[in-house]
Symmetry: C2
Subunit: 139 residues, 2 copies
């Protein structure tokens, strides 16, 4: 038995790939278009474990995707949480929970999926602007 | 960058571990209790990729966990989808989408998290009772 993927639904392929690939750093592994089912599946992965996938489901006919509380978040380890958060900030992504502790941050996808970033190894030394940055919204 | 886990919230530790471990086949990897935060985190994994975790969050103070549409499901590959589904059925778990095609099934956790089971390799030859088993509810 083996973990394959977590599937989330997206409203906009371009916005989602810009967020997950250009800004967050995942890479597209494969894609499947179903003309009969009228959906597109896009599988993404982080370099460190390419068999653990994030599946984006894009339904061609518009649907509304609300947020529930039984699902929490998806977590990725990053090599330097300050550099990752700076790259996200520079690209216009809100850091909902800044890494004040040098260890943990939370952001949101365009479809309000909560994403946790965790520093690999030990926490970094607290540093500005992160150490004094307040939370924004919830995650 | 590396995938670490998907976090879901649970109402009942015993019921959840019975479902995820005894019935589905995941194994507990580690556990963390926070007296100050009043929560317990339990990390589970399937044998095939133990670094890809499922994080169960149990908040000690009761909360309601509704289901949203932006999150879809968590998927695991299984060695024999008929044997997995039979074991789940025998343990009282509803197979919401039976593996009529010998390839794909869906079940629900006690907290309504949708879980996809996919046959490793190619689809098995269609076989009863699965081939003629109707869907139950949604997933």
């Amino acid at each position: 038995m083996k973990y394959l993927h977590t599937m989330i639904r997206i409203h906009d392929i371009d916005k989602s790939l810009d967020f997950y690939c250009n800004k967050l750093g995942l890479k597209e592994q494969r894609r499947y278009d179903s003309d009969t089912g009228r959906y597109t599946l896009i599988f993404l992965a982080a370099d460190g474990n390419k068999s653990a996938l994030l599946e984006l489901t894009y339904n061609w006919d518009p649907e509304s995707y609300n947020e529930g509380r039984n699902f929490g978040h998806i977590a990725y380890e990053v090599e330097n949480i300050y550099l990752s958060c700076q790259k996200l900030c520079d690209a216009g992504v809100t850091i909902n929970r800044p890494p004040r502790d040098g260890y943990m941050a939370f952001i949101r996808s365009p479809d309000n999926i909560s994403i946790e970033l965790l520093q690999a190894g030990s926490a970094l030394k607290p540093a500005e602007p992160w150490a004094s940055m307040p939370n924004t919204g919830h995650w």
